[in-house]
Symmetry: C2
Subunit: 166 residues, 2 copies
């Protein structure tokens, strides 16, 4: 079975911490929406197409995922609890193990430091905070399907939005 | 002292192995030149500007470096022997230690698997072949200047040409 392409997208620029009673409700700023739309259009222009997109249920991530859906980047969008609030990679790995036979390209929309922590564990087996993922930035990984993806995946893309929007 | 931005660029598509008596002489193909020019223009459009570019002396790397120079990406270009023929990171580290006080942004043009091996050692301390760097692809690292960059650097960019040329 061929590798799975996994794309991880960090939510765009959001309102400042402390301005909302519940931090989960912080929405994207106007600038955050604008830049996320530019990134979304660029990803679409690169020919990317995801079989499925999973998003953190938090407002700023969900809005980011909706913007990515609006340009037609994925067939389907689902909220995935473990992508919010420092969720466990293990939870996602169990889900992935059942999903991997059904698609080839998958996107996750979430938060830092979770996205780079998950990436480092998938690629090197442990997280050392060596990756810098800006808001509205993107990571691309190749995940094997015959063995556990932990410590067995490869990194082929990591980009801040400034190197996506020309 | 602030971090140094280090960009590593792999040479573009070159003629097939075995078609030249000396493999060092293999030049870029027409398609390799064209794509490398497109990447060079895009890097320039992103506002990148290197204080210095070091290149492997092998023809396909030197041609790649010349194309990057032609669009005005660097002030200065020098050949650096250790970037060709599986050169030692240690040789470059000794050079870097004396150079780092004189500039802020540096680019290296070279070959695989050396560029990802050097990157993995700078970021994680050891090379595990977990990074995929395509021909005419780019890596961006932040190197500390107060301590050894080995196992202390951060990765902020890794891109194949297909995600640079829109």
């Amino acid at each position: 079975m061929a590798d799975i392409e996994l794309y991880l997208v960090r939510h765009g620029l959001a309102g400042e911490r402390g301005t909302y009673a519940n931090d989960d409700d912080r929405p994207l700023t106007d600038e955050g929406k604008k830049k996320t739309k530019q990134v979304a259009k660029q990803l679409h222009q690169f020919g990317l197409q995801f079989d499925l997109m999973l998003t953190s249920p938090l407002v700023r991530a969900r809005q980011t995922a909706d913007i990515l859906m609006d340009v037609g980047l994925a067939e389907q969008l689902e909220e995935f609890e473990a992508l919010g609030h420092g969720g466990e990679l293990q939870t996602w790995l169990e889900w992935f193990d059942t999903w991997k036979s059904t698609g080839k390209t998958l996107a996750l929309v979430g938060h830092e430091p979770d996205l780079t922590t998950w990436t480092e564990r998938l690629v090197w087996g442990k997280a050392e905070e060596k990756l810098i993922l800006k808001k509205a930035g993107v990571i691309g990984l190749l995940l094997p399907t015959e063995v556990s993806p932990v410590a067995n995946s490869q990194l082929f893309w990591l980009s801040p939005p400034r190197f996506l929007i020309s």
